[in-house]
Symmetry: D2
Subunit: 250 residues, 4 copies
């Protein structure tokens, strides 16, 4: 890992060019808004990628130099190349790249493949949402109060079909009667995954200071750990114990 | 374990004698209402116990013949004898008795001691509550729809200070903006523990058919398993491996 | 789900036809041996399937009438059709089919895809192995002592690259210094997954009565639960709450 | 929390004064040896405490200024004052103090009370032990290879009666056929708990550089998080949501 956390914010980046409301809230795209608040941190180096960029924004030289990949996709999940999905998944599993799925990324190909899930849920129009802090001592909840008012965001409701998380950090309340597990942490292979619910393209959630704080915390939490063990499947002779340290015998 | 599941429903049983509303909803006590719906199951044998009974309702001959202990207490947690708490805890840990904590049992001595928790939370007056099914394939969620309307119950809100559960089965929504992890499963020692939020003494929750179904499911889930391994701390000689099966050597 | 648990035992079924030792231990294939001990249970109905059968043994009419799929594959994982893998995965996620992966299934396509894992580990030649019971109150550990001697089986060693399990039931000790998380439970979508380490084609593990007991327990644990909630992704109007019960409004 | 992590190493500190072997390995006590390797870290400030010190080494002014409490006790668990145990437990739960239990601390009063466990296990004389890294991306496994040879330490064997951990980081192999979950992480209240198996008083484990690295990592992992949420049980009015931020209304 480089000295700074190398973050790539991937965005489908179509709504903001086609939908007037989305454009007015995120004139340069959701990814640019995310970059602008992450850029305020000296320990991060942020770059943008979009579906319509060459190689869908993630050629090898970008992906292999990304420590944490943030993903926002919505209507065009199916256009994401399966080969790219597999490269993302292997980079998480084998090299410990962090993956942060935002909002509609619950249905994105990389999120489903990395986690082992359909990501299904019940959804509906925007309504008043409040985020609750369920795990105040978790690093991603640092600086977050017991709850905060998100204003309006798209409804994502239970039942949410994802594996039980390694940590459930946030819950969501919606005005018309629904709840949602809104912030979830997973480990897969050598990598860490965080999913966070807020962020519809016509809502102002990425301008909310607490949402920004949570995503910033999540980048630091999800960055690759310093790992000396290899993620592979070697043959070892009797008593050889550790192929990386061949002198290690029983 | 006997053929039938031997359930003891323990109740503080004071509100229902002193408070008119509580008395009108639960004329013979919350425990009697719980017994009456559990009694409809051929596989259960239900008995009642109360704080003001001799030995606080749980002399050895009762506790040691209880497969699942259901606990409802509220204002008099501090009166429960510490020796009894320790006997309950050891029966859960060492003999696999199930423990089901209802509503204000979050602050009861046995719940806190068994789990390792303060059980703290934010609380408030009754309001509209909806229960959500977060784990539809869990045995305790059998027959429970995606959500159900509880009517009014006392507010219990996050942050709820309990260990991360082995399974999070239900979530609660409250009208004025709060959420709660309302149904939680734990394993401690050889025993199983379930906590369920509904059940204030002046609310009708224990008459709700879904609440009744959940408690019934929980009794079946929490009953002692058939276990051949002892919960103890024996010295074993080199290669003796299993003191229960002394012939088992390496 | 039918009255009986409909089990399909899928086997690569090549070693036992080509390798003399494997043939002598499992003359009709590993799957036939598994069927023969499962057949002793009145609550199970067992059928066989193999890689070289038409439709790789799992046409729709078989897969869609399977409650629990047991999988043994080794050298020919890559030959398993990707479309079949996806059908298996969706049947687990959406319809709650149980999946039991045995031994080298840690590297099989369905196991990796369902779970979200590479399944990598360190491996080596057969050696003395002992299985330890880490979760005596788990249903899959019913009737299993603190430990049992497996005789010789192929070495599978940590680090094992799988997600943290919902329950870790068994651990393995190997003569030359290795350990392994040998029995692991997961939930994915509506389904349950169990992985169990023993079972190299030239070892006698599937003749071991404790291994047979564990696989039998696992079939009962992994069978589809009675679930009333749908695994889908519906749009719901404000306050409609539950699309399966359209009258359920807030 | 102060700038440095304020660590207190508590030791029963009797064996090293009475047993010749223990004295020769840990002449100033196990706690002094732990202090000496922790002292090499600029971010830690380490102090010693022992059972026979006034107030059993942990008067309020010490305990309340401890960020991480390391605990080694063995034969005199019963002498530890119950009031002290309760103060330790509350400091972990309510103020987020870290607690690291070493070796025979599995049976210590604070470990059992904080966690909710008997801590029972099978034990036996010293034998060859190897520690395996089961979670290479965990912060406590930083710098630890796939496995390392511990030499001889006291046998602690499964079944180990503790709650399922939030993270299982290390496993142990023993020469005569046993395995053990040797490194376990928990969250209780606002605090973090780590248990680590090695460290019998007549074995050299605390001189092992990997054991030292693990305990050092664990101190950094277990230190109190920056938390803005209070661990308490307040009444809140309808829509008041957060008593710490009374203006937060729905």
């Amino acid at each position: 890992m480089a000295d700074k956390i190398r973050v790539t914010v991937w965005n489908e980046y179509r709504h903001e060019k086609e939908n007037e409301t989305a454009h007015s809230i995120y004139p340069d795209g959701i990814h640019a808004t995310i970059k602008s608040f992450l850029d305020q941190n000296d320990d991060m180096e942020v770059r943008l990628a979009a579906l319509d960029d060459p190689d869908q924004g993630l050629p090898d030289e970008v992906l292999n130099n990304t420590d944490v990949l943030i993903w926002w996709g919505h209507m065009s999940h199916h256009e994401v190349d399966d080969g790219l999905v597999e490269r993302i998944r292997q980079r998480v599993y084998r090299e410990g790249m962090g993956f942060i799925g935002l909002h509609s990324a619950h249905h994105s190909k990389p999120f489903r493949a990395i986690l082992g899930a359909t990501g299904n849920l019940q959804w509906g129009d925007e309504q008043h949402e409040i985020i609750w802090n369920l795990f105040p001592s978790h690093p991603i909840a640092k600086g977050i109060p017991a709850c905060f008012d998100l204003g309006e965001d798209e409804l994502y409701s239970e039942p949410f079909f994802v594996p039980q998380p390694d940590a459930l950090v946030f819950g969501a309340w919606y005005e018309y009667g629904n709840v949602f597990r809104a912030g979830l942490c997973y480990h897969r292979g050598l990598g860490r995954i965080f999913y966070f619910q807020p962020g519809h393209e016509t809502c102002r959630s990425f301008h909310n200071p607490y949402v920004q704080k949570i995503i910033t915390n999540a980048v630091r939490w999800a960055k690759p750990q310093e790992i000396t063990v290899k993620e592979h499947c070697p043959y070892i002779a009797k008593g050889e114990l550790d192929p990386e340290n061949p002198e290690k015998k029983n």
